[in-house]
Amino acid sequence: MEKEKFDYFIKTESNIWEVVIGLEVHAQVISESKLFSGSSTKFGSKPNTQVSLVDSAFPGMLPVINQYCIEQAVKTGLGLNAKINLLSIFDRKNYFYADLPAGYQISQYKSPIVGEGAVTLDMPYGSKKIGIERLHLEQDAGKSIHDLSPDNTFVDLNRAGVALMEIVSKPDLRSPSEVNSYVKKLRTIMRYLGTCDGNMQEGSLRADVNVSVKKKGEKKFGTRCEIKNVNSIKFMEMAIDSEAKRQVELLETGKTIIQETRLFDTKKNETRSMRSKEEAHDYRYFPDPDLLPLELKQSFIDNIKNKLPELPDQKKERFIKNYKLTPYESNVLVSEFETSKYFEEVIKKADINLAKNWIIVELFAVLNKKNLDIKESPVSPQNLASLINAISSGEISGKIAKKVFEIMVETGDEPTKIIKEKGLKQQSDPKELEKIIIKVLEANSDKVLQYNSGKEKLYGFFVGEIMKASSGSANPKLVNDILKVKLKK
């Protein structure tokens, strides 16, 4: 497909504007315990029940790095084809807030654990590489709750100290749809790796979005604004669109963009200023003296590399090569690890071509309608495989199969059981079919005469009557064969 059709430009009477976007994605690390303490990270627990003395920054408490979180970050870095830094440093980012118990967040500033990498997006106009600037580990803050009481703010520290990976992209994104694709791709990779569940409702994945605009063809980037803490892909797309338009309007009326942090108001679909560069926090970063620089051995990294699962890009290639799927089909099937797993389960016992269509078309439609995850599918891979086999063997027609599938969706039953109980088995015995056909022709002898004298479009009528007489179970191909012979006589 030609690129132009998908170009995202903001066109005004006098100019064409290009939008430049960079993302800082905050991904919560899948880990039983927090980055520097043994507290649990379970979501949805009662407030302040997962807080250790370290998390609440009691006097004399010291952080100790959770090795598992380091492994997870390295794994993610490898999944992003990135350089893993053998030496990285944890810094303190200092600011005061009620839900930041120590008065500083432990993060990585100048020396992150993961350096440059790249992810590949499959856009309708071809693949596009998006550069990764870095990935670093940091602690999450707690949560301030302002709406429980008119006079007080409540603080829940359950989340305080949970490990986050901040994945910073290069300013390589050019449209909301590329951002959509990028975030989904990151999420897919991390889900494959088991390093982040990507659950945006629970806040496991959120992003700060940097937006600037420049005239088409201009090399120099414009002044950017950062839209903080956007927690859904849809809102990211909306925020970019609205922010880019705001910037274009300012520039076209001779004004300048002020570098600042902004918030996206989802109800009004507009961004508003949070703080300007002058009001920006001076975080006074410095290396955390409670933690030594983190030194990794190459063997530690190699060990993780050797145990890396197949990643979506590799799986996509394998599906195309081994199963003769189109790139589109392959993409759809690998975009979620569970989907690819489902597909490979089905094709262990059933025809690949039928399987891919049934999953992409029929199953996805049902899951979408019922708002279910493929893991919660009422139709198990085994049951879908037997349904497909029933089609391949001629036991049922494609049309009947859809009927059986509907019942499977509602009851979760096995297709063989449904076919048997409802008597949906296709009639493929030529002798039985012949009997039915003869009966139908005898009952409509006048139409047979008309047909034989040239009214050939009556053929469809006969087929319809035969199907009716067999309550829809007649094998259409056989009916065709026998009917043609009978009518010639």
Binding site: F58, P59, G60, N94, A98, V155, P289
Partner: protein, 485 residues
């Protein structure tokens, strides 16, 4: 009966182990001393009932396995003690009762000791005279109008006055060695990472180190053995086998090479300090050690470097005292920021505020490179100086302080002159290496003066041995007339 006021820690341990005295008798003795020593203001908190119960419990079981079996010990109020108020000498922690025990104190209790009380100190260990404590200044038993030094001033005062048989302090820039020097006692700052920092109220994390304060070198070896050890809860703790400092203590220093750094001959240094240093050199010479002139060229930058690094870390370490979770909270203020401002404004004293301001400034964007980064580079050069020297010498001998104990109030309005007191002690903290101060003489007014031995990292045994030999040659034993009773 033995006069416990004249007994060392080791002697008391032996008295208890040989059943010549009970733990309860020892405890009662020190409680009596503490009660009579109230004028010194060396204690912030006492826990006599708890101590008596611990002593009774010890006497009923008589488990003599520990190095400190049945010994009551008071500790600097910077060590968090479970269910016992821990203030760090600050109003902001006036009523703070930890639910946990610091690793170092826990180590002492595991060796059979128990808590006698919490000792006064400069607020958050920031000070060299014990005058910044919210709980009032501590008096030096050496003289009514003298400061005991700081920040472990309460510890030094209580030890010198026999209100505790031994004690522990923390040393960020000299806070153990300077008060030891001012009170005629022994104080050791171990290698950074030898004693766990877990559960110690933090001042400057990369410099803070707990250490023993004792009447003599033997006790120092004993206490160091008891309190040190690897702790996985402190990421900067050194993972190594525990040493038997007491068992390995000896006076054989024949052939050891002792460096005398010329840069420690500072301007305007009193003659008596210089004489003391000479005396130390003579003693070592006579003991068969070889004296070598050395140079530590970056010494003069140590103090300014320290007063950038330490406040920088402190400004961040003290951010947690914001009135939100624990400690003092001001009732003033209509919003979060105002609450912060009044809590910290009312909760911190002037010296703490001064250092938080300095620290915040040197970490600020625009100043960070010129101050903090520069200081870190100089710190490295200071460490390199020592590394270089320790290729040729076993230890370095210097005075502990540039003067004897000064008068109460003398330097309170002149922070720079106060800071200058740390000039000889700060380099060892910056380099992370061990240093010990032992009493070596007196000035013209009879006030004690200390001498300092510095070694390379983890060479505590070596400086303990040299100090042990010197102590014997000096042959000085302080005797105070207990004027405060």
């Amino acid at each position: 009966m033995t006069d416990l006021n004249k007994s060392s820690l080791k002697e008391i341990v032996n008295l208890i182990k040989s059943k010549k005295i009970s733990s309860l008798e020892v405890t009662k003795h020190f409680i009596k001393n503490i009660e009579k020593g109230k004028n010194l203001n060396s204690f912030i908190t006492t826990c006599f009932e708890k101590s008596m119960n611990s002593a009774k419990e010890f006497d009923s079981k008589k488990n003599f396995d520990g190095l400190l079996s049945g010994i009551p010990i008071a500790v600097k109020d910077l060590f968090c003690t479970k269910n016992i108020k821990t203030t760090a000498g600050s109003k902001i922690l006036e009523n703070f009762v930890p639910t946990y025990e610091s690793t170092v104190t826990d180590n002492l209790w595991s060796e059979g000791a128990f808590l006698l009380g919490k000792l006064n100190c400069d607020e958050f260990a920031m000070g060299s005279s014990n005058e910044t404590s919210y709980f009032g200044n501590t008096i030096n038993p050496v003289g009514k109008n003298l400061v005991p030094g700081g920040s472990s001033g309460g510890s030094a005062s209580a030890l010198a006055a026999s209100l505790t048989p031994a004690t522990i302090g923390t040393d960020t820039g000299g806070s153990i060695r300077q008060p030891a020097s001012f009170t005629g006692t022994v104080g050791l700052k171990p290698t950074y990472g030898l004693c766990s920092r877990w559960g110690i109220v933090a001042f400057a994390s990369s410099l803070d180190q707990a250490g023993p304060m004792t009447q003599n070198v033997e006790d120092c070896a004993l206490m160091l053995e008891a309190m040190s050890g690897y702790d996985k809860k402190d990421s900067t703790s050194i993972n190594k086998k525990k040493e038997n400092y007491l068992k390995n203590l000896n006076q054989k220093i024949d052939g050891l090479k002792i460096g005398i750094p010329k840069e420690y001959r500072v301007e305007n240094m009193p003659k008596e300090i210089n004489d003391l240093w000479k005396k130390g050199i003579d003693i070592l010479n006579k003991s068969g050690a070889k004296i070598i002139d050395i140079s530590l060229p970056h010494t003069k930058y140590a103090l300014p470097t320290y007063y950038i690094v330490a406040p920088a870390e402190a400004s961040s370490n003290l951010a947690r005292y914001d009135g939100v979770k624990f400690g003092y909270r001001s009732s003033k203020g209509n919003n979060l920021v105002e609450m912060y401002e009044s809590t910290r404004g009312e909760g911190f004293g002037d010296e703490v505020k001064r250092r938080v301001l300095i620290g915040t400034y040197v970490l600020s964007s625009g100043y960070y490179d010129a101050y903090y980064i520069k200081a870190q580079k100089v710190r490295r050069l200071i460490k390199n100086d020592f590394d270089q020297c320790f290729k040729n010498v076993d230890a370095i001998l210097t005075p502990s302080t540039p003067s004897s104990a000064f008068k109460i109030g003398e330097k309170t309005n002149d922070p720079i002159s106060m800071y200058l007191n740390d000039v000889f002690t700060v380099p060892a903290n910056l380099a992370g290496i061990p240093a010990i101060s032992i009493p070596a003489g007196q000035d013209s007014e009879g006030h004690p003066l200390g001498i300092q031995l510095i070694s390379k990292a983890l060479d505590e045994q070596k400086i303990l041995n040299i100090a042990f030999a010197m102590e014997k040659s000096i042959g000085h034993k302080q005797s105070l007339n207990r004027w405060w009773e």
